[in-house]
Symmetry: D2
């Protein structure tokens, strides 16, 4: 940490700060600039809050952090080794990570009925997907919109899992539902709107299933990694980060702005695997193929793609869902790029 | 609702849409433009989702909503009459609303210990505040930061209430804690990070205590009013909206961008009372007075102001807290403007 | 400046940087932290670019600036004394600044014809305005929209000036027009879209008329003050800053988000006077009164308010213009608050 | 255009609007909804301003545009045929467009001296680039930063062109410099900060050289295409759009947020070719390769990549420049993906 004092700060104030800081087992080092004094704090400041220091004196102009605010999520924490999150599915273990083939997660926004979810599961499996996504509990902007079938949808997901062997990814919205969701899900999703629902983060961190953590609409990279840190600090090391578009000033042609630059940025900062969801990221099915291909080419570890057997009749998010036919075509295109960049799984795995 | 068809849409597709729409008890009216067809949907479309319609055909260019997506929160729902939310406090009922004096809510970010919360309560009461704010459960970006004293802090708030007669406003973060919080709080706060925690919204809507709903960091006005709609639709009519700053591209000198224009905008759209929190809105105590005065002059119904007996030692949010002395001075300045605009409560009330 | 090295930077790299920096007449001071080295640069770094330093080595993690990137615009540059910008108008000198009454600038978006501009000038003068605003050259999003009457409109502004004695504020869009504009204008406006048109900034800085510098739609406070610095560094000290709303994620009910917190922030950072334009800031005439009143209460030095004799027939920006009657009423309300906060000019001045 | 009236609008007001609108040669069609009236305007409204209509009555709730605000830039204007912009360079004509190989533009941020620019030109040509970029006039946030060598740098660009046969892309910042720039440049760049410098747009539109139009930092897609429309409407059809990152709430790890979703969006909306500048888009050389590869995979027509022989000594934007060695490697990777997607030029062309 570095404390920058305001110009003309009284010497007594500086001494005061230095005294306080020493009590925190930190070694202060003072640099006398031409107009301002700067105090470097040497020691373990990783989990120290900036605001705690700022409050020490009204003469403090700014407190700057050297190093990152997150710790367990950082690449340094694992000495530069990238994590792999291995998920056990009926079809066998599927690893997410930098050194593994890209993992494709596909399925409808919400689970509507048995026939549709099983049909979709079979179609996406045949096309090469490794996981089925589908919402039982749906966060909807309007209280009058379809809120998901809840518990009964979880049963349908279990049936689709049994029928296809695909792993299941589904969202939990309430700590009260966690146990039920964890019974069915192979990966538990925390949605964008709950990214800073810290109670929920602690509870998914205190159970065993891997967690897919979507980025909040206005979450900085640091906010997002700090949310992951909540889960890691609660004892669960299996966290996958999912970019799904951020909110910017232009929402006319795309619902969100898909921030693909997180791919190299996260690779620099964290050991955790990352997924790109171009369906929510753009909100329009026409834009999903090119953005999914771009994500794969840029190095994403996993792709989430919404697929619905009949988007025109979907109970939610139809406009961003691909038909199974379009998904087949996209998987074909992805496989070409995926093989080129060495991130495509062998047919044997896809068909396992 | 208005459906805008793409140029050169096939006639059969248009007929198809018209057929579907009639099944929904809506009357479609077609306008043939020079290049595009537009279909107006006459009937009750208030709670209909745009995406449901958009999915009807790939030839639909856009679906535009006429009227607002929210209903119970709208000013029209109460035929232009503004709500008043009356909160019973030991000192007597305190009404929030357009036709009432401005209500001042003050107190520390978090409840730290008995002495500090009771001292603060006494000081802010003496200065004319009507409510004490103070966090028992604290949403913090970092898992390593102070998370609030939880249940024991609720007891201290109850003690401060008993000691001063002030109403209590405190935050609930988890549906599991709602009952405990509701026992102590006169107004239950839903924080910015939980504004779209729909499980929580439904549950605070299903109980009786008034709810203070903070605006999310990236919430549009519509998102915010839809969140209020969740509470209203669940049966609780006592909702107060609180602006606390939004996230924009400039976060160097203020933590958030306080959007004071919500004051006239909300007055146009909704009957609900509104509060402005300049402490979170700016993040710096030096900027709180001018922004609180501006909010009052612009017509806010209530002000939230963080006050801490010793900001330099605060466990959270010290940099944005006023000292009791600075709060006294600000209340003095507010009273001058408040009297000028006819929104200041008589001393008799402040001292009740 | 502070250089933060990446963890495990080679000692030779650090020595290298220290060597380079010494050649720039700076004194490097090294702090050895537990995982990272930090190098403080002592000396005159105010006008040094961060990127120049960052390029010294790929082992540099970050370069942090201590102090501000602007110099002449800073409050320190004038040792804490606030500037006053005094503009000579036919009615006498009008000072803008912290220690002067609020200055009101009113008039239409664009100059449409002689009758309308002279009528408007008379009406706003009668209501107490000190300046007439009106566009001769108009920046319009669409090439098909009315672009202003150009040179002939400048003549009409001169006529309105002669008829009322009001000072004239009008925009320059092209360096080629500067001379013509400067002949008529008492204050030359640089619009939001040209805030970083550096050629234009240098040229308005190299002439004598005071300059009104509007904040760009996505300009940070630092960007804005650096744009002012261009004018100041070119020799013109008479700069007034004008906030007119920034672009954020919500543009449904207001065209821009008026950032009133710039009032206390700028007061902290710069000696320059500041103006608030609630007409562009909100884009809706209904919201202009409350936001103008808020700006005055918060301490703005000047207000810009669009007034049009017949907004329904305006050639541009009608929806945000007040009628003369509404402007009269607003001036009445402003005078009440203005007197309360001691920032309202005596009638004698308004009628001078 | 669609006019949405407020609930309970008086019939006389509606008749009034209908009367006005007929005078504009438009056919109004009225739809009577359950609470609101909607009026469709049939006729040529493409170049009509929304605000002109909104001003017709205070009872108008909203005016919605059917179809796009731009015309010449729209894909419909060319009946679904994509433009190609063919630039004549000493090495032969280079076409930009959907049906052509990707065009690579490389070079330093600014032209520093003869040796560096010629060396860079030779290196990027050898690696397969088609154009040399390099700034003679540089828009810099600070007046104290290097502003470019101006006219003398133009001569050096001409020398590099002569030495290598590469086409030249360089920026014009001031209408006064246009002629000089056009003498040397094969493509004239309008920078992000001047995207809405309408005087400059009109003047580059009135000359013959192709124009590269960078997206403004806070420009919506519509704003950007309207800026292109200025150039097209002034008579110059050779416009290339360049995405270079937008400003969002997170600027810690990337300077801007590169919006790659413009690739499919622009393809839907406009016939104009598009370029992606990942160097400015991310601001960090480490992130340029993956984002350039993503852009190519997603279908961009052209890539701009900053290359500097010695980034550590660059006079501007060093941190985002690749060394020639890294550029060689990136071109190698691009060629693999480019061949896979069928957008890579034959060696014969690159060496022409």
């Amino acid at each position: 940490m570095i404390i920058v004092m305001k110009p003309d700060s009284p010497e007594s104030e500086i001494e005061n700060i230095i005294g306080e800081v020493k009590q925190w087992q930190l070694t202060p080092e003072k640099i006398q600039g031409t107009t301002q004094v700067v105090i470097g704090l040497v020691g373990d400041t990783a989990t120290m809050e900036i605001s705690r220091i700022q409050e020490l004196s009204p003469w403090i102009q700014e407190v700057l952090r050297v190093g990152k605010p997150f710790k367990r999520a950082s690449l340094e924490f694992r000495h530069g080794h990238y994590s792999e999150v291995v998920v056990n599915t009926p079809n066998g273990p599927v690893p997410f990570g930098k050194n593994h083939p890209v993992v494709v997660v596909a399925g409808p926004c919400s689970v509507e009925n048995e026939e549709m979810i099983i049909e979709t599961a079979k179609r996406v499996k045949a096309a090469g997907a490794h996981f089925l996504r589908g919402g039982a509990y749906k966060p909807r902007t309007s209280p009058y919109a379809f809120q998901g079938h809840g518990e009964s949808a979880l049963e349908l997901l279990a049936a689709a899992r049994a029928a296809t062997g695909l792993g299941i990814i589904t969202e939990v919205m309430d700590t009260a539902d966690l146990e039920k969701v964890a019974e069915v899900a192979d990966v538990i999703q925390v949605g964008a709107r709950n990214m800073q629902n810290f109670s929920l983060l602690k509870k998914v961190g205190a159970q065993d299933k891997p967690v897919l953590l979507k980025r909040g609409m206005a979450a900085t990279i640091d906010d997002w990694l700090m949310a992951a840190e909540y889960i890691l600090a609660s004892g669960n090391n299996n966290v996958i980060l999912c970019e799904r578009g951020i909110r910017t000033f232009d929402q006319k042609y795309t619902r969100n702005t898909l921030d693909l630059s997180v791919i190299p940025v996260l690779r620099d900062l964290t050991h955790l695997p990352m997924m790109i969801d171009a369906s929510h990221g753009t909100g329009k099915s026409d834009y999903v193929p090119s953005m999914s291909i771009a994500a794969l080419a840029a190095g994403a570890d996993s792709l989430m793609i919404e697929v619905h057997p009949n988007p025109a009749k979907a109970l939610s998010d139809g406009p961003q869902s691909l038909t199974p036919e379009k998904f087949d075509r996209l998987m074909q295109e992805l496989s070409v790029i995926g093989k080129t960049v060495g991130r495509w799984s062998q047919p044997a795995v896809a068909l396992a």
